[in-house]
Symmetry: C2
Subunit: 579 residues, 2 copies
């Protein structure tokens, strides 16, 4: 650990660093790195400029003029762009630790992400935020944080923690904390709920950003939401709603991720008139999707293929996100900015050739294509906070006994559900299965059950500890025996995903960190996840239903209409439990 | 004074305010003010939108929708724009206190200025900054501060104070302090001067802006200056230099003030491609210029007349300046933004019809045309710091005795000078006059003299305590008697401007605050200043020479070639004193 320094010592050190920047910029001293003969994107003038790019101490010190460097990389014929930024993601959605996430996205040109640790905070509270910060220190992807605004998401579920303004207030001094994450409780804002507005007030007191989440909000309600201080939105799925929000002053995060894809609908925003208020976001990004499509580079590629101006798209993918989040040394290639570069083969296919982070080459397609990632050291006591988070007694048959109960009707291809009436028992032939949600944070022993229609399972049971937003254990099965095997197997495993049949665990993906993520490589995790999905599909889960993702949303009581929480079946439209 | 409140109390108060904003935005409660039927400029989409603008607690809470208000103002047929921002001005150049400056510029639509109290800091040091902050509290023009970076401007003159990084560091916590003002000591940066770079480092440590001042700087030297952390410039007088700076990432302040006018040369910046990196600045604005031409509205009018797109110009005059300075609630008409509006008759003549500051009408052309200004209370001890600042012993004839000495040759219409050789005595016929600079801050008794050619005076003497940048007393005269009358008259007056002849003071403008400004109304000050100028012109000062402004620059040792400081004649090109 660094010795404590006086302010004057810190100033003196920084002055010496700046003196070196000046000498290198003047050409009096060799640069650390020079990208020779670069065609680079100038975000200030919307043009492609040509010349050397000189780097010292991880910062750009000069472009255009001729420079010599300790390392010189000829990038003739390539296009150099500022590193890509994901403006809003829940890193937990990748199922891997931040280091493994970085290893996966660096080859796609991502050098900065803004994450909302909403999932892990719902399980581990501040300990979860602490872990994510420690686990994302010093990576080749800068991980900035927006603090979870809605833990728990609603009062109708049992989360592992509750975060008040006093809790989040403790984090604003951290240099990687940029603000308050998606304020999804817009009904709370509109009704003047004190606890909800307090979090905005305390964020503003620290001059931090407040992100929004308000699908379809419009008119005076939108005015009120904005007046409270919410200046972005990533939930626009129609151009009309996006334009109203943009026109009123919100920044629009164009979301194109695993669970939701809005790029095509919002393509008209990628024009001179609107693009300066836009950025890209994935929100959720699952392992297979990351591996198959890529990350922000995929959105860039798709937007260009759909006809947007490439320089405009690159600016949305970097510059405008940096401006919104006040990341003053990011999102441009210019003296004083971080030397975060993506070297692209061209602006059509957007193939990533090399990636530089603070002037260091962290990915080279010609050279083994392995991203350079150092795993951060995590304090063992902090790491312990996020392990062994399945705090529930073994579930017994009496806990999941069920007769007459409501049926949640799933809708193919959507996460909204319908009221499916009632049923008196499981009937796999008629696709009526038992659904159970088991509280796993505080050993309450709370278990709630109902029926679900539309999942498709004909044999066995499926269970997961990734269950939005409180991440209790949710399980769906044909027989009580299989349900108990899956639930208790998951309990013993410490969380993850599981498929069981006839008392045997058929497939499993352990997610030891908060029951949400693991620090194994993305490829391994994806292989096990795919094996789990295959095991579920082999047992009848409908095509078009993601055996785990769709299951995980069945406990989220903010999406219409019926959901199952640890407290019972909840009607999200009526905002009340079904008796 | 407000009672000390706990953090929780402050949060609770702010929550209640936000709850009201929400209710008003929703239409559940009447707004304080509604501009009905407004055509307002939407800076997010570059369009003119139509509808009501509702205001509560000084903030916009809704636009577009229909709202009812306690006060309703029909603005049909007018154009509503966000209040104008002057991105860089030395308020002292107006010769009046901030309150009187505000009274003068509010009718021109200015609602925010960013001032650099460089002049008063050179006289009174931190006491001068303290005074300007206190004197600009609660005005209808928000006065933000950039901290003087170069006090004194050079080591070759004797200023009233020296400001180190430790001095300026004390100010960064003030909410109206936005950063470090024009870093004109670019040679210091390029040579790695520690004291110069320290000020940048400490400003960056507070996440504050650093403004530049580097006429003509280019190539690697510009790269080095920017690498040190300087991200704006208001000294561009050619498009070429402006474009290089903009392309490399500097923000360009297009300056159009009294001493320098760059708008015409920089008109091509006012286009979609470049305007987003530009703002307007006056730098210096003298009383007559303010009264005759106006302020930022004059620049807007001129730019539109020269062919720029009106909405682009309005954005440069408000939105982009607010973005650069991170004034997040300024520069747009949108929910949550300050209700700072300029109501214009149209976008051609740009006549200001009404001005609203935080929702209050502070100027109405139909209603007496008097701006509403409350003078702030200033602590008497703080006010005393800036009064009686002429600390020099009475100047006697022996102090200004002179025989063979260098001649400073003035150039018509410019502030640069030439080496005029040497002279042996005053010769009014040949336009060779005596020039004296008397140290007035520390009673050193330092007086330096030389000759000046090109001023034109045939009788009497002219003296001023506004003398860049150290603001000692500078005087020019035909006879020693008149010089002593003028200098000692100024000394007794406590600073200002004066014309004397035959032992009598002919005309005078007292500037009791630091010898730089007064808190009398601009009209009165201008009348006295004009009388002084007329008295000087009557005594022979050449047409095309501003008797006081041109005189005041003769002591500024950063402008080529010859200057006179309290220490002697200085060659700014050779950076040495003339023997």
């Amino acid at each position: 650990m660094a010795e404590a320094k006086t302010r004057a010592e810190r100033i003196a050190l920084k002055v010496r660093r700046k003196q070196r920047l000046v000498r290198v910029a003047l050409g009096e001293e060799k640069a650390d790195l020079v990208l020779k003969n670069a065609d680079y994107i100038n975000v200030f003038t919307n043009e492609i400029c040509h010349g050397d790019i000189a780097v010292a101490n991880g910062l750009v010190v000069g472009m255009g003029e001729n420079y010599a460097g300790e390392t010189e990389v000829d990038v003739s014929g390539k296009i150099v762009a500022p590193g890509f930024i994901d403006a809003h993601i829940h890193l937990e959605s990748s199922l891997v630790s931040p280091a493994e996430f970085a290893r996966a996205v660096v080859p796609h040109g991502t050098t900065t992400v803004i994450t909302d640790p909403h999932e892990i905070a719902n399980v581990c509270g501040m300990g979860g935020i602490d872990y994510m910060m420690a686990a994302s220190e010093g990576l080749p992807v800068d991980v900035h944080f927006m603090l979870p605004s809605c833990v728990p998401a609603t009062p109708f579920e049992e989360s592992g923690a509750t975060l008040s303004w006093r809790d989040i207030n403790a984090y604003f001094d951290h240099p990687r904390v940029l603000g308050l994450a998606e304020m999804m409780n817009y009904p709370g804002i509109l009704s003047g709920n004190r606890q909800t507005i307090e979090k905005i007030v305390v964020s503003q007191a620290h001059h931090k950003k407040i992100d929004g989440h308000a699908p379809g909000l419009s008119g005076k309600a939108l005015n009120a939401y904005m007046s409270a201080g919410v200046y972005s939105d990533h939930e626009c799925d129609t151009l009309e709603n996006a334009l109203e929000k943009l026109r009123k002053g919100q920044f629009i995060m164009i979301r194109e991720g695993t669970a939701a894809q809005n790029l095509e609908a919002l393509m008209p925003l990628l024009t001179e008139q609107y693009a300066h208020r836009c950025m890209f976001s994935t929100d959720d990004k699952h392992p297979a999707d990351l591996m198959e499509k890529g990350h922000i580079d995929y959105i860039v590629r798709k937007a260009i293929a759909l006809g947007a101006d490439p320089i405009t798209v690159i600016k949305v993918a970097s510059h405008y996100a940096a401006r919104y989040f006040l990341l003053n040394n990011k999102g441009a290639i210019a003296p004083g900015y971080l030397a975060d570069f993506v070297v692209l083969d061209d602006l059509k296919d957007v193939n990533v050739h090399q990636v530089f982070k603070r002037g260091q080459c962290v990915f080279d397609a010609d050279n083994g294509a392995q991203a350079l990632v150092n795993r951060p050291d995590i304090d063992p006591d902090m790491a312990a906070c996020v392990l062994n988070t399945c705090h529930l007694p073994p579930v017994t048959a009496d806990k999941i006994a069920l007769h007459d109960a409501p049926v949640i009707q799933m809708i193919p291809g959507q996460i909204v559900t319908q009221d499916g009436g009632r049923a008196a028992g499981v009937n796999a032939e008629a696709d009526i299965l038992k659904l159970a949600v088991c509280e796993r944070h505080h050993n309450t022993g709370h278990v709630a059950c109902c029926y679900v229609k539309g999942y498709g399972l004909k044999r066995g049971a499926v269970a997961t500890s990734v269950a939005h937003d409180s991440h209790n254990i949710i399980a769906c099965g044909v027989s009580d025996e299989d349900l108990l095997t899956a639930i208790n197997g998951l309990r013993e495993m410490g969380g993850g995903m599981i498929v069981a049949e006839n008392g045997v665990i058929i497939a499993r993906l352990p997610l030891p960190v908060a029951g949400l993520i693991t620090d194994r490589p993305l490829q391994e995790v994806n292989a096990e996840l795919e094996a789990c999905k295959r095991a579920a599909c082999d047992r009848g889960v409908h095509e078009g239903v993601d055996a785990f993702m769709n299951l995980s949303f069945l406990s989220l009581p903010v999406i219409p209409s019926l959901r199952l929480t640890t407290l019972g079946v909840f009607d999200a439209l009526k905002q009340e439990f079904v008796r």
